[in-house]
């Protein structure tokens, strides 16, 4: 019974990790860009929701509706004016630039909001739970997991059912040939990064309502996101969800044995998956 409960909690935690990772997976899948600032952008999103919520008095679930388009705009500008300039055959420049961006965001947040921990307050829903008999699940973790599934489903629909999605996939396959089909890869990349930051904002909402955050915790979220993306298979969105679940379950199992083992267990699961399936659980055929 305890095992079922542990696995259920791990599954739901995996939803949060999948939300951290989905934006990273999207950007990597389309432009092979590893955004080292992704974790910090999630934290930036959390502060944006906090600010909107504080200034307007809106509930965080409503504030996110204002924050998401702003983050889309930020992503679009970031890609258009900075990242598009460094994308190319050499993977080092984008890594260096996004690493620098990570440092800038952390220090900017520190200057603007201090190092004090903050939290998004969602009200009574934070403590609400549903009793399923076998297990009792928190409403917020269930919402988090449902959001992760919805985000991955929506992104897949976008990828496989729309003209923009086909342009994403075509550009991902071959950006030079895509230009000869009338596609402007730089615009496609800017939209992709904008979307990735919308997903990061949704992740920020659930991160901020679940636990405290401060300007320094971005890199650890990036690490979980990386592990989820790599476990799932680079560029596969459903794989990213599976990767998040693997880490979440491993952490929950580790914590049930010894609370100090929670974080370590996730990393060990990551290493084990890589040893058994070096290309992840659901690798794309041509990666």
């Amino acid at each position: 019974m305890i095992l079922v409960d542990t696995l259920a909690q791990g599954l739901l935690l995996g939803g949060l990790y999948a939300l951290f990772a989905a934006g990273l997976s999207l950007v990597f899948g389309i432009m092979r860009l590893v955004n080292l600032a992704h974790g910090d952008l999630i934290i930036l999103g959390a502060y944006l929701i906090l600010t909107i919520s504080t200034v307007t008095g809106l509930h965080p679930f409503l504030a996110v509706l204002l924050a998401a388009p702003l983050m889309f705009g930020l992503g679009w500008l970031l890609q258009t004016h900075i990242l598009n300039r460094v994308l190319g055959t050499d993977i080092l420049p984008p890594l260096l630039v996004t690493f620098g961006l990570s440092v800038v965001i952390q220090n900017g947040l520190l200057a603007g909001f201090t190092a004090d921990s903050q939290k998004l307050t969602a009200g009574p829903i934070e403590a609400a739970s549903v009793n399923l008999g076998v297990v009792t699940l928190g409403v917020m973790p269930v919402l988090t997991f449902a959001s992760a599934v919805a985000v991955v489903f929506a992104l897949n629909q976008l990828f496989y059912r729309t003209a923009l999605g086909r342009a994403f996939r075509a550009t991902s396959d071959d950006a030079v040939t895509a230009q000869l089909m009338g596609i402007r890869p730089q615009s496609i990349f800017a939209i992709a990064t904008g979307l990735a930051l919308v997903v990061a904002t949704i992740a920020a909402l659930f991160l901020g309502t679940r636990a405290n955050f401060d300007p320094s915790i971005g890199p650890a979220r990036l690490l979980y996101a990386f592990e989820a993306v790599i476990i799932g298979g680079l560029g596969s969105l459903w794989g990213t969800l599976a990767g998040g679940i693997v880490i979440g379950m491993a952490q929950a199992l580790g914590a049930s044995v010894n609370p100090e083992w929670q974080i370590l267990s996730g990393h060990i699961a990551f290493v084990l998956v890589l040893l058994i399936r070096p290309r992840g659980l659901f690798p794309r055929a041509n990666d």
């Binding site: 003209a163 086909r166 342009a167 996939r169 075509a170 991902s172 396959d173 071959d174 030079v176 040939t177 895509a178 230009q179 000869l180 089909m181 009338g182 596609i183 402007r184 794309r284 055929a285 041509n286």
Partner: protein, 239 residues
């Protein structure tokens, strides 16, 4: 009336001049063949026309409009379509989706009209049966057909074919030439780089010979092929 014209176009890679002062005009609806030894600068000339590389000197005009500084995607929308020597389908997309991308973005067709337009091209190029297949798993002939079909889906007024008959059997080549003839008959201007001369000469009205980046000769295929200089350089037959 010239639909495409190049004025003294040159391009070097380091010390190597791969396109050297090339000028020519392509008339609306005309089919022009380009031949020349390997390394003569044929594909580079295509890259200069599509905008994949910029010329060091000279200008490219489409319908009298200077497109020299336009990026490739805008040249496609202006009416320049291209197929590659080595087929480069989007492997993660189905055959039909490859065309849809070209039609929506290159041909600037709306969501309502693009599907029927693409299905028509697929049936005209003999690809209707494999429309839903992933393009990564096609045979060489099918991939060559897809190159042609995808270029057509961009609604080109000038279509650039880069050794599209290379590597095909004689029977496959005959099939492909029939398709190219049909495209030409519809009024689309064609520039076709090809080593398979009998295929090329059965379609084109004029032939251009490139050698070391320079245009050696341009004229009627019979006249060009009869030139002792061309026979020596291209066919290795001493005059």
């Amino acid at each position: 009336m010239a639909i495409l014209s190049l004025h003294s176009v040159s391009r070097s890679f380091g010390a190597l001049k791969v396109t050297d002062d090339v000028s020519f005009e392509l008339n609306a609806g005309e089919a022009l063949g380009i031949i020349g030894p390997n390394g003569a600068g044929k594909s580079t000339l295509f890259n200069l026309i599509t905008g994949n590389i910029a010329p060091d000197a000279g200008r490219v005009f489409l319908d009298g409009r200077d497109v020299t500084r336009l990026p490739p995607m805008e040249r496609v929308r202006a009416g320049i379509g291209r197929s590659f020597q080595i087929p480069q389908p989007f492997g993660n997309l189905s055959v039909y989706e490859n065309l849809l991308v070209a039609a929506r973005f290159g041909g600037e067709l709306g969501a309502g009209e693009a599907p029927a337009f693409c299905m028509d091209i697929l049936s005209r190029t003999g690809l209707a049966a494999v429309a839903e297949k992933p393009s990564g798993g096609l045979s060489l002939l099918q991939r060559k057909r897809l190159e042609l079909a995808r270029a057509m889906a961009t609604k080109p007024r000038v279509i650039l074919l880069d050794e599209i008959a290379g590597g095909l059997t004689d029977a496959e080549c005959v099939e492909l030439v029939a398709t190219i003839r049909a495209i030409h008959a519809n009024g689309t201007a064609i520039i076709w780089i090809e080593h398979v001369l009998h295929a090329l000469n059965s379609v084109v009205e004029r032939l251009m010979v490139l050698n070391f980046g320079r245009m050696l000769m341009i004229g009627a295929p019979d006249q060009v092929m009869a030139s002792p200089e061309v026979r020596e350089i291209y066919l290795g037959i001493e005059a």
